[in-house]
């Protein structure tokens, strides 16, 4: 039996699309470990996937950089933080236009906070009630 606040997850991977499956698996498994039903955990993995895809597409222009995922359990929620070191002037690679990713996250999540993009990158905090 886990105590609220006990479970935590932290991983940093290159912001490259071949890491998406691993990140998604971790997000889904963490949600299930925190008590989310399978369908809800699948949706949480989708939301985290879209946040990470935004980092891969938008955060870095030429040089690759880090994609950080942190997650933690609170009394009545599981929270994911996705962050990068990108700059506001970074542009998507050709053929990788964005849009609709944030609305998908908002449709699934119970709360979404966005900081940036700024000098130190962008940080999303996504809360899913349990």
């Amino acid at each position: 039996m886990s105590r609220p606040g006990y479970r935590q997850l932290e991983i940093t991977v290159p912001a490259e699309d071949n890491y998406l499956a691993q990140v998604r698996w971790l997000a889904r498994t963490f949600a299930e470990d925190c008590g989310s039903p399978r369908d809800r955990a699948d949706d949480i993995a989708l939301a985290v996937n879209e946040a990470c895809a935004n980092v891969i597409i938008h955060a870095y222009s030429d040089d690759r950089g880090p994609l950080r995922l942190r997650a933690w359990q609170e009394t009545d929620a599981v929270v994911y933080e996705i962050s990068d070191n990108g700059t506001p002037v970074a542009k998507p690679a050709p053929g990788r236009a964005g849009g609709r990713g944030i609305p998908i996250i908002q449709a699934i999540a119970d709360d979404l906070k966005i900081e940036g993009p700024g000098q130190y990158g962008t940080r999303l905090e996504i809360r899913f009630n349990l």
């Binding site: 699309d17 369908d39 699948d42 989708l46 609709r100």
Partner: protein
């Protein structure tokens, strides 16, 4: 550990191409899918996308499907969905469901794609 990459299978019954997406598909597989679809649409074939065994797909894959529609000369892409599964939920969250012709089994998808081909 090697992570499974989504599989793309193409079948060509008559004048319709059925593209089955098996497993998980995301940004890492979307470009490959888009290339397949562009070639098939360029052949003048009706296109049905079988998502009944797709375990995961994301917005990048939906964008690839929308891109294929631009090569279908005004016809709509036909999707076969498993009720309540990943593809149907993503369509709901993205608001893009109305962009496609939706069916709930492979036979209906084939019939819908074939009927568009005859129009």
């Amino acid at each position: 550990m090697r992570w499974p990459i989504g599989q793309i299978e193409v079948e060509l019954p008559d004048s319709v191409a059925v593209v089955r997406l098996l497993g998980e598909h995301d940004l890492s597989t979307a470009a490959r899918l888009a290339e397949h679809l562009q070639v098939l649409a360029g052949e003048g074939l009706g296109l049905a996308i079988d998502l009944t065994e797709t375990e995961f797909l994301d917005l990048a894959v939906l964008r690839a499907l929308l891109g294929a529609e631009t090569h279908l000369r005004g016809r709509r892409l036909v999707l076969a969905l498993a009720p309540g599964a990943a593809a149907e939920r993503l369509l709901g969250y993205s608001g893009l469901a109305s962009s496609f012709t939706l069916t709930y089994d492979r036979a209906s998808a084939l019939a819908a794609a074939a009927s568009q081909e005859q129009e």
